[in-house]
């Protein structure tokens, strides 16, 4: 090795060690940060309500609970049961009040669908035979679109539903 090589190599080894330490610290901080927000917003985490061996049973479970409207489950909490079926969401339009905690129970009766509410972090795979849930509170009134984001065939792109967040009536 030439003197230049030797100097370069010595400096490289020193920086390499420092770099590896920095990388490990950085990734550890990122891990802690993401875990903090998971715990903080735990409702957004996809959880499982039930499994069914017959995919139509999951659909029936959701349909039985579905009155076409949201179900009030507490002073300021609501439940919505939704089924994805190529290529529409049932119910297709959902009215929820502003500022209330809404629990979505989502399943599919045919293939995989993706339950994404545009403009929110709500993002859940609709799986035949499994009822998944997420919780979310809408803090803004208006129309939010439910977009299917898991490929489900020819008209996948047209599988759009709506969540309409209504202003709270003056009490």
């Amino acid at each position: 090795m030439t003197p230049f090589d030797e100097a370069f190599h010595a400096s490289a080894e020193r920086h390499e060690r420092a770099f590896i330490v920095c990388v490990i610290v950085m990734m550890a901080l990122l891990t802690v940060a993401t875990m903090f927000y998971v715990v903080h917003d735990f409702g957004l985490v996809t959880t499982t309500q039930s499994f069914h061996s017959d995919p139509t049973a999951a659909e029936r479970e959701v349909a039985a609970a579905d009155t076409g409207r949201v179900v009030k489950t507490g002073p300021n909490s609501y439940a919505v049961h939704i089924t994805g079926k190529a290529w529409r969401w049932t119910p297709g339009v959902i009215h929820v009040p502003e500022g209330a905690e809404v629990t979505f129970y989502v399943t599919s009766s045919d293939v995989l669908h993706g339950f994404e509410i545009q403009g929110t972090p709500v993002n859940l795979t609709a799986v035949p035979g499994v009822v998944g849930t997420v919780k979310y509170t809408f803090h803004r009134t208006g129309v939010f679109r439910i977009i299917c984001n898991e490929y489900c065939g020819m008209m996948h792109h047209a599988m759009i539903g709506q969540v309409i967040v209504d202003a709270r009536a003056a009490e």
């Binding site: 090589d5 770099f19 891990t31 993401t34 499982t48 993706g114 799986v127 035979g129 984001n149 792109h157």
Partner: protein
């Protein structure tokens, strides 16, 4: 030091003197051509997908070839993601070690690898072009394609693990001839890559052989979507590393020599590969953060493992940067950025690889976003995700393979590139086009634009109501796509032009890099054996025990997947198949 004065122009490669490798060269050329033919078809369709996001629906005009956008997208994903990368990699990971070791590969096995993959690829192409299997490259059941699709995928995957026995045989023969010596670097990296891939293949192969093949043939009636999805991602995440590791092999093993320098650290390259082997297998289910059905504890563990798998890639960035800095300084570059300007930018092979590596800054950073559970909820299945992997596999892998082709075709055929300028033009336009495209895709994803959706087929008003808010990023997507079209065809002009019309010239030798530290090796194009304990570092010696690494990886993978699969195996859903396109 005479090398310190500024040296313009490309580094002159040594001339190949060993003319005895004719069958190997021809086989390697076959792999290269087959792979790039797949890319030619796959990449030609790409810009149609890009235009789609900007609301431009080109598919009605192509009715005679593609019935739907989804059919075109299936062809794009399967040919680029699987067929192109598998062929180039399975050629490379036998040819480079064979030349490095000076050992003949088993031509029967290597040829069987090509044959299996060719049969698999043709079967896939048939099933995709007759629109019987527009299931996209992830082929999630219960969408049901034709048996030709699943059997083709099975055969292609089986073919792609064949280089492993070829490599093991060559390494064993070399070790017998050089007892107590450390495996040369390129062979070591190739072997670890193939071991990783053989382990990873267990997921998709069991999905295909136990479920999808018999299901599509009508032998079993129903299928469980979650078990298959989980098995798919058991392979589907490590495949990312099967795309990246061959590019890393070129960066560590060749690029520093091509740039006029040396590899900064040989043991660090080995450690990177060992870490990639261990961490890439257990993390696949981080693609399922949005799925119901498995425990939150395991999702949290997946986050930690995913962050860990980023570490070897960030170390690669450091070692590669350092090797390039050394090369640039040896060429007379000085100051903070002078070394970067002094690199041999007029060599299209170097330019392709360095520019590919630059895009990986964006690709790697967005990968960390995807792997962060909470952030993934925002970007999952939006265009952010394909935006991310177009600056990993679509740039790092594709551009490195393009760069390899620029020295390899002259090396294999004895023909000179027909135009260095067009080659450089293709590389720069690919870099610019892919960067613009990826930034557009990632940005648009934040507005909730779903990935792989035929949004341009929506009525105009609906498209604008839903995605008009993302007009700027979707315009970038379309612009990037069109630039990539130009890049693709200028590349293939050079590729096929050289094969057919290139002028006869001396063959350049394989530009194996030499490590800065450690003993002189590779001076003659063949590795000089380094005995353990004689110059080989402690780390390199420890990492020689590849079977221990494999054992560790297998244990980690089983430990990660048993708890994830457990609830699915106890709650099997019997879903019938659906053909919905």
């Amino acid at each position: 030091m005479s090398g310190r004065a500024f040296t313009p122009g490309p580094v002159v490669y040594p001339v190949e003197t060993d003319e005895g490798w004719r069958p190997e060269r021809r086989m390697m050329l076959l792999f290269l051509i087959a792979g790039f033919c797949a890319l030619l078809i796959g990449a030609s369709i790409g810009p149609l997908q890009a235009l789609n996001y900007d609301g431009v629906n080109a598919y009605p005009a192509l009715r005679s070839i593609f019935h739907t956008y989804y059919q075109g997208l299936t062809v794009h994903g399967v040919l680029n993601g699987y067929v192109f990368t598998f062929f180039v990699t399975c050629g490379l990971l036998v040819y480079l070690p064979a030349r490095e070791l000076g050992q003949r590969p088993s031509m029967a096995l290597w040829g069987a690898c090509f044959g299996l993959m060719a049969v698999g690829a043709l079967s896939l192409i048939y099933a995709m072009f007759d629109n019987s299997s527009s299931v996209l490259w992830t082929f999630y059941p219960p969408l049901k394609g034709s048996p030709f699709f699943y059997l083709g995928m099975t055969i292609l995957t089986l073919g792609s693990v064949q280089p492993l026995p070829v490599l093991l045989k060559m390494r064993a023969a070399w070790k017998r001839a050089h007892p107590g010596c450390v495996t040369p670097l390129v062979t070591y990296m190739s072997l670890v890559t193939m071991l990783m891939w053989a382990l990873a293949g267990v997921g998709a192969l069991s999905e295909l052989i136990l479920q999808l093949d018999p299901w599509s043939l009508g032998l079993i009636g129903t299928i469980d979507p979650m078990i298959n999805r989980t098995l798919f991602w058991l392979t589907g995440h490590p495949i990312v590393y099967f795309w990246l590791m061959p590019a890393y092999i070129s960066w560590y093993g060749l690029l520093s020599r091509q740039a006029g320098g040396k590899l900064a650290s040989d043991p660090m390259a080995r450690m990177t590969f060992a870490l990639l082997l261990i961490f890439s297998l257990p993390v696949g289910s981080h693609h399922q953060f949005s799925d119901p059905g498995f425990s939150q504890i395991w999702r949290a563990i997946l986050v930690v493992l995913t962050m860990s798998v980023a570490i070897p890639s960030i170390i690669t960035a450091f070692t590669l940067g350092l090797s390039l800095e050394y090369a640039g300084r040896m060429r007379g570059g000085s100051g903070l950025v002078g070394w970067f300007r002094a690199l041999p930018w007029s060599d299209p092979s170097v330019a392709a690889q360095v520019l590919g590596a630059l895009t990986f800054i964006l690709g790697g950073a967005t990968g960390i976003v995807n792997g962060s559970w909470e952030l993934d909820a925002i970007v999952h299945n939006t265009t952010f995700v394909p935006g991310h992997f177009h600056v990993t596999v679509g740039s790092v892998t594709a551009m490195t393979f393009m760069g390899l082709a620029f020295w390899m075709i002259p090396h294999l055929t004895g023909r000179k590139l027909i135009s260095r300028r067009i080659a450089l033009f293709s590389v720069w336009t690919w870099f610019v086009g892919m960067s613009i495209f990826a930034i557009g895709m990632q940005w648009a994803g934040l507005y909730g634009l779903p990935r792989r959706a035929w949004v341009s087929a929506l009525p105009h008003d609906t498209y604008h109501a839903l995605y008009g808010v993302a007009a700027t990023p979707t315009t970038l997507i379309a612009v990037g796509g069109v630039i990539l079209w130009v890049a693709t065809y200028s590349f293939f002009l050079v590729f096929f032009g050289t094969l057919l019309f290139g002028r006869r010239a001396d063959r350049p030798a394989v530009p194996f890099a030499q490590a800065l530290s450690g003993p002189v090796s590779h001076e003659t194009g063949v590795a000089i054996p380094v005995a353990t304990g004689h110059g080989a570092s402690v780390l390199a010696n420890r990492l020689e025990h590849v079977w221990a690494l494999v054992g560790l990886t297998a244990v980690a993978t089983v430990a990660a997947y048993v708890p994830i699969l457990w609830p699915f195996l106890h709650n099997v859903t019997h879903s019938p198949g659906w053909v919905l396109w």
